[in-house]
Symmetry: C2
Subunit: 556 residues, 2 copies
């Protein structure tokens, strides 16, 4: 094996170095181009992938190197077509998966960090050739529009995975493998030969979600792998195909290089046998990565003897104080709430607006007008047939649709019909805006996943900050948008939200949105509030996946 | 404040740099000399400290800057005199301590990392002048002999604290405070000004033990402090004075520099009101460091919403396979088990000896003879009046004495009388050796704290390794000693014990012992088995004490 792998180490060395450097600088870095243009990805890449995706429907997914399935299962459904994809995947009993992972563990942990990194980076390069295919698979499981599906599930996810590999590699090589320790004792020196190994924790379970099946999955998966842990990927039953392709490509690289593909396995639920709890509770599973609901996340976090990385629900706030150009601000926010119909963990929900209104330049724009401008901006986007389908996409599941329809409070914007010219049967709905009473905290203190905006009238900006902080501290938050032209207020917001562990985007207008977190620069869910501790990718995300063990003996 | 603190930053800069470098190299590094010689610490240091210690008995400890105590309490007793010290300490209700810590938090977290590091390092330098006094306080609370009390509670503890400060400072300054992020978008570049802050978690509770009241306490205390968290130190009620001096010196440095001394408070139990649980369960306590029993440690680890660093019980093994000089090996091991009468978390307990005996050079020395040599070496040390009192010290508490007397199994060495010429009333006992049956795992699968050795006859070295690994994996281990001249067996032992997260010292003879873990080089309790995850000092030990939070806004 080693000669081939050494070639891979050479091949990826420069990129690994650049990635580690970017992690430290936190400057812009992207290894995989986010522009799905033919010049970059090839003239026929899109067309071929579309055809390949179509031909995969109603077939078995045969790419995985996992032998002897107990069954073939599948329950995915396209939010664009509202009909089943019909793709089926091999099903294995949890005990079989664990046993195979355990065997693979004792091979994988012995592979040196530089080789593990190279093998994993090679798998990401292979993935690059399948970004378009993954994009269509993502569209038709999550409901994302094409461009987001391409970017989030393809290049952005691959960059996040690369980031995890780079961070893991750095930590694994942070201390010397061995050294001579010499302690002066006066008349003589004590000399010990010392060495250290980074021992992986064991089997890693990565539990994926239905809305970002690769972006939220590959960081934990690659972080566990680079640190020597075998991984079992448990996809959401409604969003398997995108991550199945990722696992299959990795398995190919592993087996080409003489390694057991069981180093990373796909573990699909049978329709009548959901296996997540059985896997998570298994005594051999030591690491758990999870994206999803707070209730299940809290259950996982309480399992004894596991190290968990979670991304759960968050209530993201927007604090409106003072702006230069209110229309630009509202356009930016309307886009943020509409992007993938609010089905992002970073989408804003609670908009805090002072009762005296928002200062625009030297003028105060009254509360009612601010709210109206927000509603108009959203309606304008929704009613723009050239933009809307590409921004809003479709609704991943019917529960979200129900939630949008059932929302309570004074309705500010109720429109919920919106058609997609390309997919007549798409499950869609446009954002709704409700007004919540600041005094009725229960009405805005939980995440309402989907395109639901709550406007909360506050006494003043101090009150807005206080509520935004409280929501984040008590119920979790993953992002925050704030608009102020007053440097003192900006500092107060930083202060309030930093204590709530919530990153803040200030005064965004134009082509950048508070719900976008960039790899190598923006930390994501760093553990400062109940929304979770996924923490990709800061050092904590990789360090907790292995144990330092030292050996020493006298120098002879 | 700042001018004075800036002077401190200058003063300690070089040491901080050297400490960070040593952490990375893991080479020998000691900032505080371990030799209690008059040339280093001053002609009268010892004498003055002894007098100061004596004069502090039966007095109130008035050095703390904690006003308005509810009571004065104290229950320490000297294991050398078996009578009460009579020192009393101010007692505060938990809610008072929490409230003061909370106020101090909002001052301390705003102090820059370089200033925090400098203030903390200054406090360690002040401590240097009190090492002898701390040594006597340690002797007469823990029962350690003078030299260990001096080294472990003084220079070694201060070096461990310095190590935590250095590791914390490095992590806090690992990423840029701010930077301009520029993303090429084709026709234009998106430009964001980004900044990051390391937000401390909140109030930190450090729960100390009765045997190493400073060595096991200052790492967590200084790690929390350097990362911006206020600390409440809850000493063991029987070992307060050594750490009270540490807290008092730190409080002096803080208040001299215009900072609230409540940044670090001492929280002593009242005799009828033990406050540990109340403090640990308080919702404002976010970090817990703990050294002590497994049962209480497991309770702490299960508290929701806390980050815990624990050092609990471990069963440390010695694996005997083959040696060059059996007498030298036995002398080394006899010292290891006798040092502070086995009351170290790193002391070995289970000695695995193959039934065919141990290979010495080309010869097999039978099992019985190996065991006899061990017993003889221990007896030899115990019966050497020049060495024994200085090695064995005294027994910290009567429960340990009871345990030694009650031990079950076939007695190999039972002698339990041993007198200290300097302290006629000292609570002492010499090590006992029992033989346990390998098949009766229950008889050797728990820590028997104190000078208790179990010899376990195994089928062969493979069997020894298997049992040592199982004990560590299932019940925890903090150290391991192994003796083999066979490189293949050495690799197997490394393999077995690395999977059990246990560091191994091979073939130690002469003046270095398996129970000594050196700051800046040997990681201590890194979290790979049930003995805990204290992990001083690897990056995990400091990273988990703060949260990264990012801010960004368009470049104007």
């Amino acid at each position: 094996m080693n000669t081939m792998v050494l070639d891979l180490v050479d091949k990826h060395q420069e990129t690994l170095k650049a990635a580690i450097q970017a992690l430290h600088k936190r400057s812009f870095f992207a290894h995989y181009p986010e522009n799905p243009s033919p010049e970059i990805y090839g003239e026929n890449a899109d067309k071929e992938a579309r055809e390949k995706f179509k031909s995969s429907l109603n077939q078995r997914f045969e790419e995985l190197q996992q032998e002897g399935p107990h069954d073939w299962v599948g329950q995915e459904e396209s939010p664009y077509e509202q009909q089943r994809l019909g793709v089926s995947y091999p099903y294995f009993e949890p005990e079989t998966l664990i046993q195979r992972a355990e065997e693979a563990f004792h091979v994988w942990r012995k592979i040196k960090p530089d080789m593990r990194a190279a093998l994993l980076m090679e798998s990401l390069d292979r993935l690059r050739d399948r970004f378009f295919e993954i994009a269509y698979a993502t569209m038709h499981t999550t409901g994302q529009a094409f461009l987001m599906a391409f970017q989030a599930s393809g290049p952005h996810a691959a960059d996040r995975a690369l980031e995890a590999v780079a961070a893991g590699y750095e930590e694994l090589t942070r201390f010397p493998e061995e050294m001579e320790w010499e302690k002066p004792m006066g008349k003589y020196n004590l000399r010990l030969q010392k060495s250290w190994v980074a021992v992986p924790k064991g089997i890693s379970l990565v539990i994926a979600c239905s809305t970002f099946p690769t972006w939220n999955t590959v960081p934990g998966m690659y972080a566990s792998l680079v640190t020597g842990n075998p991984v079992i990927v448990k996809p959401h039953p409604k969003a398997v195909l995108p991550i199945a392709i990722v696992v299959a490509e990795l398995q190919k690289v592993l087996s080409e290089n003489g390694l057991p593909p069981a180093i990373c396995q796909l573990a699909v639920d049978a329709e009548k046998h959901l296996i997540t709890k059985e896997l998570a509770e298994h005594r051999k599973v030591k690491l758990i990565d999870y994206t999803g609901s707070s209730s299940f996340g809290n259950y996982l976090e309480k399992l004894p003897g596991k190290i968990t990385f979670t991304e759960k629900a968050g209530i993201n706030s927007v604090i409106l104080d003072s702006v230069d150009d209110l229309d630009k601000v509202m356009q930016n926010l309307a886009f943020s709430v509409s992007l993938y119909s609010g089905q992002m963990c970073t989408a804003p929900q609670n908009f805090f607006v002072p009762e005296a209104g928002v200062k625009v330049g030297e003028e105060m724009v009254p509360y009612e007008e601010v709210v109206k401008k927000l509603a108009d901006a959203v309606a304008g986007l929704v009613n723009n047939p050239k933009a809307a389908p590409h921004v809003l996409g479709a609704i991943q599941n019917t529960a979200t649709l129900e939630r949008v329809k059932e929302g309570k409070g004074k309705v500010i914007l109720s429109t919920c019909d919106f058609s997609n010219p390309m997919f007549a049967n798409a499950r869609t709905c446009s954002p709704v805006i409700y007004e919540a009473d600041a005094a009725d905290k229960a009405s805005y203190s939980q995440e309402m996943f989907g395109p639901i905006i709550l406007v909360i009238k506050t006494k003043d900006t101090a009150h807005s900050m206080e509520l935004a902080q409280e929501m984040a501290q008590e119920h979790g938050a993953i992002s925050c948008g704030a608009y102020t032209t007053d440097p003192a207020i900006k500092e107060q917001i930083k202060e309030a939200m930093s204590l709530a562990g919530t990153p803040v985007s200030f005064n965004l207008t134009g082509g950048i949105y508070l719900n976008q977190h960039a790899g190598f620069s923006d930390f994501h869910v760093t553990g400062g509030n109940p929304a979770g501790n996924a923490s990709f990718t800061n050092p904590e995300f990789v360090i907790k996946r292995f144990t330092w063990v030292g050996f020493r003996e006298p120098v002879v």
